[in-house]
Symmetry: C2
Subunit: 305 residues, 2 copies
């Protein structure tokens, strides 16, 4: 199961009625945050979720509205007596930018680890999460993220019995271990069925539509995509500032055949995103305008409740 919360839906600047865009994911006691603008820690607290179990923070880019909340969040995690290391992931410059911001948060009771993304596409396995970073197209270096919870195949009991694999090894094989017992060598493949569909969330803000987004959003359970402007007439402005209109995001969702689309990162001038959703749903029906604190639980297919 994966808990998903869109903590805020604003772009550029935080507003009294709209937090800055950030996404929080929770699975098996480990939380992952994407972006952390001014106020993200308050949005999180408002939601009733804790900052302490955040093990990973991914940054799309280093415009202030996506990272200015970091020093405060780090201190709050410190005050909550987090001891475990925190991994930060982001484009080139990560350590320099975070280092600068830590001028006002120099002392923390936990270690900060850095992973700077160097390639156009990267895959990382961090605990329960598989994180795919993919380059998008903004006016500074910017990445989108896909986060997956993978799911192994089913344990094939009959096959295990047939191959006479000792019962004491079953559990370890199921966990992916290869076991050597004397001359015998047992591998997970011998007893595990075909990999099953996992849970997949794709996220991008501050970008024009790109092939990379389509590739990583392909068939995901939830696609969270920026929609800076509601009006179709603002496409020229969207192109100039390297953002998207709602319509462009909807076309992306349609091409990627995602299961559900949430729009976010609204311009401060866009006060009623809902007004544009009818048009969006003509392009892609399973679309929602994001709302601060909007959340859902995503399950493995046969676990759905």
């Amino acid at each position: 199961m994966l808990d998903v919360c869109l903590l805020g839906t604003g772009g550029m600047m935080p507003l009294p009625y709209r937090w800055l865009t950030a996404l929080m994911l929770r699975s098996q006691g480990s939380s992952l945050l994407i972006d952390c603008g001014e106020g993200t820690q308050i949005a999180l607290k408002e939601k009733g979720w804790s900052a302490k179990p955040i093990d990973v923070i991914c940054f799309t880019h280093y415009h202030a509205d996506h990272i200015s909340g970091l020093p405060g969040l780090l201190l709050t995690m410190g005050n909550a007596e987090r001891k475990e290391p925190l991994l930060l992931i982001g484009p080139k410059g990560l350590e320099r930018v975070v280092g600068a911001l830590r001028t006002i948060a120099p002392e923390l009771p936990f270690e900060i680890q850095y992973h700077e993304i160097k390639e156009a596409e990267e895959e990382l396995r961090i605990g329960t999460y598989v994180i795919y970073a993919y380059r998008v197209n903004h006016n500074i270096l910017c990445y989108g993220y896909k986060v997956s919870i993978l799911r192994a195949g089913k344990f094939q009991l009959e096959q295990a019995e047939q191959l006479k694999i000792p019962k004491k090894y079953w559990n370890r094989l199921q966990k992916g271990e290869t076991i050597v017992d004397g001359e015998q060598r047992y591998t997970p493949e011998m007893v595990m069925g075909k990999t099953r569909r996992g849970i997949h969330v794709a996220y991008c803000t501050d970008t024009r539509p790109t092939d990379s987004i389509e590739k990583y959003a392909k068939d995901v359970d939830l696609f969270i995509c920026e929609g800076m402007y509601g009006e179709k007439e603002k496409e020229a402005k969207a192109k100039e500032y390297k953002h998207m209109t709602f319509g462009e995001a909807a076309y992306l969702a349609k091409k990627a055949q995602v299961r559900q689309l949430w729009l976010t990162h609204f311009s401060p001038s866009l006060t009623h995103p809902e007004e544009y959703m009818e048009e969006v749903r003509k392009i892609f029906p399973r679309a929602k305008a994001g709302k601060d604190g909007m959340s859902t639980e995503l399950y493995f297919i046969d676990e759905e409740v």
Copy 2:
């Protein structure tokens, strides 16, 4: 007239129901802000006040809860197309700390000027404001501020006539100019009466009680003082972390004979400051527990409405 707004009343970390402590002053179209933690720009917008006319920001010290909102505020002021320079005032390290934070706000359409406080007490005249910075006692270098709007004496019409000062110079003399006309030299002192009482606000957070606070809070119209803890029993903790209890703040107010006291910078664990105010008012009756967005207008004595 001086507009005063206590934008937030929290210490340490911003909470869903409490912004971080910051004070905004407005007079004659020029705004002055003291401290700027995460979310201060949202609190300002919630109040309906604009960030654009902020000409001066004073920092008490560089703990994150007093400065983490700066990059976002600067960008918002830039987005509002501010062009005039902005003066930042703060303890030693100002340019280094702000420079580091500007890593995420590098491009602004206005100049930033710095005044680093070097002495234990300093006085600055910036436009309509007279700003007094005074060293207080925290676990890092920290200053309190007194902000005054001074008021000249009344123009002495009879005296001007008696001294045969040409009428065309009256206005300039009233504004403080000295005029030389041939062999004649006219000075403001010749026509201006005794200086009248101005408007005075003193502010301090993150400190133990000090003589400097008492000196600068002496007889002010409004004294805004930290009160991290409500309970008298927390005096030991207050001493350890270099903060104050409500009672200690009230004694300070009493000794300084201020006209009004507002408490602020409450610990996140202090959810109902009001509960402790009865005790506070036994020490100093004209005391209020600060509330986010609490504001007042202070007038010159005979201008009161």
